[in-house]
């Protein structure tokens, strides 16, 4: 029996009501997250990849309980936290933190970095003024920012430095799980690698678990132990990172890998370009939601939604066929 996972998500759904027409009556739903199950062990990184709008951020926000999911359950270290409220949620808020793509959105622009980093301790009523200031200094050092940063404001920092501030705040309370929502997507490559190294170091040092969300498969594969590929609110495939790269089974995973531009001018493999756009999660296609873009589509795919099934003990695929 494996250890109790840090996080387990079972059949999670987040359906946003869509207001339409003059009466703004809700008769449709945006099925942003539509039946997702996954788990993350202590010290593990699960990478979550998919194109924009497939529901990655919504899933992250459900797990941190920024959104109240429509149905399904979220377990943290075995305890169901899906419907906890108020004070009962407080210890989990401390243990599950989030890093965002644009740190400016999550950092209060009118507060100094010192205040921003001290705030989590005040909210959780931890320590006195002196011990909090000391901890803030420690945090700055851990993420590689100068100690004098405390009196400066977020706008005085570059994008990479701001992401360091966001990371410092997310680890302030020694969380067990950090949801990283596209933390390096807006950064230049030379800065991106600095932040990825920092996240990997922090994980080793503090035994953090990550849910690492990104649309760049190469970045995700670098930082993850396992990877889940999402398409239209569902998991298309999940497996160890190396398995996803070397033995992808889902046609969508294959086309994602094939679409990544490789920085090697000698590689002249003909790309397998899939046609069409990602359909809307408001009116998803019938049957397998990938079927309008799938090079292997059959009649069955148009009518019957495939179930996520094990093809070996660690590799899940949602496709009718063994391709």
């Amino acid at each position: 029996m494996p250890d109790t996972p840090i996080l387990e998500v079972r059949d999670l759904k987040m359906h946003f009501p869509v207001n339409e027409g003059i009466l703004l009556r809700t008769n449709k739903f945006n099925k942003a997250v539509d039946g997702i199950s996954l788990s993350i062990q202590a010290g593990e990184t699960l990478g979550l990849v998919g194109e924009s709008g497939c529901g990655k951020s919504t899933l992250g926000r459900c797990i941190t309980r920024l959104y109240q999911p429509t149905s399904g359950s979220i377990f943290f270290e075995g305890q169901d936290i899906t419907r906890l409220k108020g004070n009962a949620l407080l210890p989990f808020r401390q243990n599950i933190q989030m890093i965002f793509q644009d740190p400016m959105e999550s950092l209060n622009a009118r507060h100094t970095v010192g205040d921003i980093l001290e705030e989590p301790f005040i909210v959780q009523k931890i320590g006195d003024r002196i011990s909090r200031k000391k901890r803030v200094q420690e945090l700055l050092e851990i993420v590689g920012l100068p100690a004098r940063s405390t009196s400066r404001y977020p706008f005085e920092f570059s994008g990479g430095q701001r992401q360091r501030i966001g990371i410092a705040r997310s680890i302030a309370l020694n969380p067990k799980l950090v949801i990283c929502d596209e933390p390096v997507s807006a950064l230049d490559v030379s800065i991106q690698s600095q932040i990825l190294n920092l996240l990997i170091d922090l994980q080793k040092e503090f035994n953090l678990s990550y849910l690492f969300i990104a649309h760049d498969l190469a970045v995700v594969k670098h930082i993850s132990d396992r990877i889940a590929i999402m398409y239209l609110g569902k998991v298309a495939e999940s497996a160890a990172g190396e398995t996803i790269y070397h033995h992808p089974k889902h046609p969508y995973t294959r086309s994602l890998i094939s679409a990544i531009p490789i920085p090697d001018p000698h590689r002249k493999i003909k790309r397998q370009v899939i046609s069409g756009d990602v359909p809307s999660p408001i009116d998803p296609p019938s049957g397998c939601s990938f079927h309008p873009r799938c090079p292997h589509v059959t009649d069955r795919c148009k009518h019957e939604p495939p179930q996520l099934r094990f093809i070996d003990d660690k590799h899940l695929v949602s496709c009718h066929f063994d391709l």
Binding site: V189, S193, L196, N197, A259, P265
Partner: protein, 323 residues
């Protein structure tokens, strides 16, 4: 003779805090039928270079203060604006990162396409409309006759970029300048758009200048590449020269810091320490000196001249032979 030959192009901006030089004495040329990539991190001057070529710098702040842009033998920097307007759209087409910025939200797709054709050709309305439908069809837009009557907001990001490409190529320009045309798009859509540009280029025999921060995109689509850093050219050459034998420490640093699908997960990525200097505090010598692991005294004193590594492979570094 190259189709486009840029020599010592220098562009400055008047700002509240004084004059800044965004592009500093850059020289490169693009041959007919070739794809030339410009790569570098944000703020290094890629877009300003493109806007300088097109004479679309924001006025009155942006000024070309030196150098020449020879296009088919004419110096575009000296052309009267009325002449330049004919060059734009007719002989040089342009595609930007954000397709909405190039489209008029209140006009139908058909009107915008047909107007371009009427402006630059001796066409009747019927012919322009028919040709517009053909072009939409050619750039991969399904039911083009229906799309003609739709507005930009009714299309997906990928479809909009196809429309912008259709408009840019309607008059069969000799040169297409594409500034981060796929940066805002998902990777499977990026693959579609890059393939489309490649196909149209072969078909029409035009040259392409492709601006991107993605070295993978450069390796897959370009013959020649110009690496920019802080307003200057660090290195240029064929993609094989530059990727196989990167001779500038910055190019090396960039190539080494990209996470690849083949790197060992969670291994340490190379980094380029520090960050790009602002235009107001550029180092006096080599622009890369404060981040360069090979920097010596000489590098801080004067700007390294352009040196020939091999025919058409040039680098601006004092120490390229030693590294």
């Amino acid at each position: 003779m190259p189709l486009l030959e840029i020599s010592n192009l220098t562009t400055e901006f008047d700002t509240d805090e004084g004059r800044v030089r965004a592009v500093d004495q850059i020289s490169f040329s693009a041959n007919a039928g070739e794809t030339l990539g410009i790569v570098g991190e944000s703020g290094c001057g890629k877009s300003v270079t493109a806007l300088s070529i097109m004479r679309l710098l924001p006025q009155p702040m942006g000024q070309i203060v030196g150098g020449s842009v020879l296009f088919q033998g004419r110096d575009l920097t000296k052309l009267p604006l009325s002449e330049m307007e004919k060059v734009r759209g007719n002989e040089i087409g342009m595609v930007f990162q954000e397709p909405m910025s190039a489209l008029n939200p209140v006009h139908t797709i058909g009107k915008q396409l047909a107007e371009g054709l009427l402006l630059h050709n001796d066409y009747g309305v019927q012919k322009a409309l028919k040709e517009s439908i053909d072009i939409l069809d050619r750039v991969g837009i399904a039911s083009p006759d229906v799309r003609m009557g739709e507005y930009p907001h009714q299309l997906s990001g990928g479809m909009r970029q196809r429309v912008v490409i259709a408009i840019a190529l309607a008059c069969k320009p000799a040169l297409l300048i594409a500034d981060e045309p796929t940066t805002a798009l998902d990777v499977t859509i990026q693959a579609q758009i890059l393939e489309l540009i490649k196909e149209l280029q072969t078909e029409m025999g035009m040259s392409v200048i492709l601006i991107t921060h993605d070295l993978g995109v450069i390796a897959e689509t370009c013959e020649q590449v110009v690496v920019m850093y802080a307003g200057k050219i660090a290195e240029k050459g064929s993609v094989f020269d530059v990727f196989d034998n990167p001779s500038h420490p910055y190019t090396r640093g960039l190539l080494a810091s990209i996470p690849r699908l083949t790197t060992q997960p969670k291994s340490k990525l190379s980094v380029i320490d520090g960050m790009v200097p602002g235009l107001r505090d550029l180092p006096a010598g080599c622009r890369f000196e404060n981040r360069c692991p090979y920097a010596r005294q000489a590098c801080t004193k004067s700007v390294p001249p352009i040196q020939i590594v091999e025919k058409r492979h040039e680098v601006s570094c004092f120490r390229w032979r030693d590294i």
